[in-house]
């Protein structure tokens, strides 16, 4: 049997009001999207605890995307600012840990930016395919 090309597992946290809408728009607009993506919808990017990101990595995600409304557009006034503060700590930690920085990315995507969402996911997937499986992936998980 021919080896199938390795397909990375990418977890994207999307906020209910903007980036999830963006993902939806991407689908409706029939933009080509890789099958590597797993979307987790949260009410606000401010809900994303760094713990969720660690858990995704430890369970075998090859990359984690944190997405939300553009700064200033948060449905809950300032949730995405909070997300940004946490993200900065996370980013530094991931760097210090020695995980490739491309594996954790932040992007602000509004509900109308379907194409931006699709491009973002495609770029990340291509990059992760170059990097190969995450070193934090547990044994026995592919």
């Amino acid at each position: 049997m021919a080896e199938k090309e390795w397909e990375p597992k990418i977890v994207a946290f999307c906020c209910n009001w903007c980036s999830y809408g963006g993902a939806d728009t991407a689908g409706m607009g029939r933009f080509q999207q890789p099958s590597s993506l797993r979307i987790i919808r949260v009410m606000c990017s401010g809900r994303i605890d760094p713990m969720h990101v660690f858990n995704a990595f430890l369970e075998g995600a090859d990359a984690v995307l944190v997405t939300g409304c553009h700064l200033g557009d948060c449905h809950y006034v300032n949730g995405n600012y909070k997300a940004e503060v946490r993200y900065q700590f996370l980013e530094e930690m991931v760097k210090q840990l020695g995980l490739e920085p491309e594996r954790l990315q932040l992007n602000w995507i509004s509900a109308s930016e379907g194409e931006k969402f699709a491009n973002f996911v495609r770029d990340v997937t291509a990059k992760i395919k170059e990097l190969g499986p995450s070193p934090l992936k547990p044994e026995g998980v592919n």
């Binding site: 605890d49 760094p50 713990m51 660690f54 858990n55 430890l58 503060v85 530094e92 934090l136 044994e139």
Partner: protein
């Protein structure tokens, strides 16, 4: 009456307390006065067991406080967690004080009820290593030691027979003895976040050895000292320029040495090896949870993110426990070294935490435990 910002030289009026204390018994007398005059309900003291062992206890007995003086470099405990939820006064090294401030930031200590007398600290030593060092380097029987002192970069031990033997700390540390690793690169030597900052640096001339240099840091410090003076427990006089400049000089020399150690300890691990290094270091973890239990800045209690989302049943490359703690401590770790001391499998926990905390704190120009003005970062918005 003293004023905030005053720099003074002081000592206990009681000759017994004065001779028993490491340098004039000022700290002991101030704590005793605070208790006697009802400023606090108890005082945290180190209950001495022997030269190398003491346990922190909270006492409401003034006599017990008065008899507790004396420096103990070989007892590396952190007192911050003992004051949680109590109305007490405590003496403290800079790391004790910083721990209390961090607890206060997280609302588990009410600072208006807690009085802290800070002590200058050049570092503490591990008791068992100290005993080993005495035998190997000093050729002294550890049981014969009656006192110890750090002076001009030298560690001095006095024995029962009145002998003194000193070896330079640099030499001891080259051999792997001397101060604990976290103390070597510590960057706060004078406890400026305490209410009173005390120590023997800058005490010169006839007062050397039996007076304490004391800086009044805030209103609470003023109250503490005034109470002690009014009660007749201590006497103070203003410190002269020379004293002040010598204290500053000692401090900056110590800090410079600390920076050199920092370079040495935190050698860069190449990007590609780092993850493997951390995974390997934590692989021997036996999930005792002691590093969290002793951590003076952790205030979550037994049920916290690091424990509740960690399960023994998981077989992850790194445990959730460590991941969460690495992140949570990157803004608040004060580098006290308690976690490494109690780790049953000798993981260099403090050094690892500092590897994450150093860049995070440096980038934000932030030092945890210095004041209440800047809250913990993960919990609030920047700007």
């Amino acid at each position: 009456m003293v004023e905030v910002g005053d720099r003074l030289l002081g000592y206990a009026t009681d000759p017994n307390v004065r001779s028993k204390g490491a340098s004039g018994g000022l700290v002991t007398a101030v704590l005793a006065a605070a208790l006697e005059k009802g400023l606090v309900e108890g005082v945290v003291i180190l209950k001495r067991i022997d030269e190398y062992e003491a346990v922190p206890v909270i006492t409401d007995d003034v006599q017990e406080v008065l008899s507790s003086g004396g420096s103990m470099h070989a007892v590396p405990v952190n007192l911050a967690k003992y004051v949680v939820g109590k109305k007490v006064a405590m003496p403290g090294k800079p790391c004790d004080v910083r721990g209390v401030i961090e607890q206060a930031k997280r609302n588990s200590v009410d600072l208006s009820n807690t009085y802290i007398v800070g002590l200058n600290c050049g570092g503490s030593m591990h008791p068992v290593l100290t005993k080993e060092m005495l035998i190997k380097m000093y050729e002294i029987d550890p049981e014969d030691v009656v006192g110890e002192e750090i002076e001009k970069g030298k560690l001095i031990f006095k024995t029962k027979s009145g002998e003194e033997k000193s070896i330079s700390i640099d030499k001891l540390e080259e051999e792997g003895y001397g101060r604990r690793e976290s103390c070597r690169y510590c960057d706060v030597k004078i406890p400026v976040s305490a209410d009173l900052a005390c120590g023997n640096w800058g005490v010169i001339g006839e007062l050397a050895g039996n007076a304490t240099f004391c800086e009044v840091m805030n209103e609470k410090g003023k109250l503490l000292l005034d109470t002690a003076i009014e009660a007749g427990y201590v006497e103070v006089r203003p410190a002269d320029e020379k004293s002040i400049s010598i204290r500053e000089k000692v401090n900056s020399a110590m800090l410079k040495l600390g920076d050199e150690w920092k370079e040495k300890v935190f050698d860069e691990i190449p990007d590609k090896d780092r993850l493997k290094y951390y995974i390997d270091q934590f692989a021997d973890c036996i999930d005792c949870g002691a590093c969290k239990e002793v951590c003076p800045v952790c205030s979550c209690g037994p049920d916290s993110k690091c424990t509740m989302f960690h399960s023994l049943a998981d077989n992850y490359k790194m445990s959730m426990y460590h991941m969460v703690r690495l992140l949570h401590l990157s803004d608040s770790c004060i580098g006290c070294g308690q976690c490494a001391d109690v780790c049953p499998v000798d993981i260099p926990v403090t050094t690892i935490f500092r590897r994450f905390a150093n860049p995070a704190q440096k980038n934000r120009n932030y030092m945890p435990g210095m004041d209440l003005k800047r809250p913990p970062f993960l919990e609030v918005m920047l700007k």
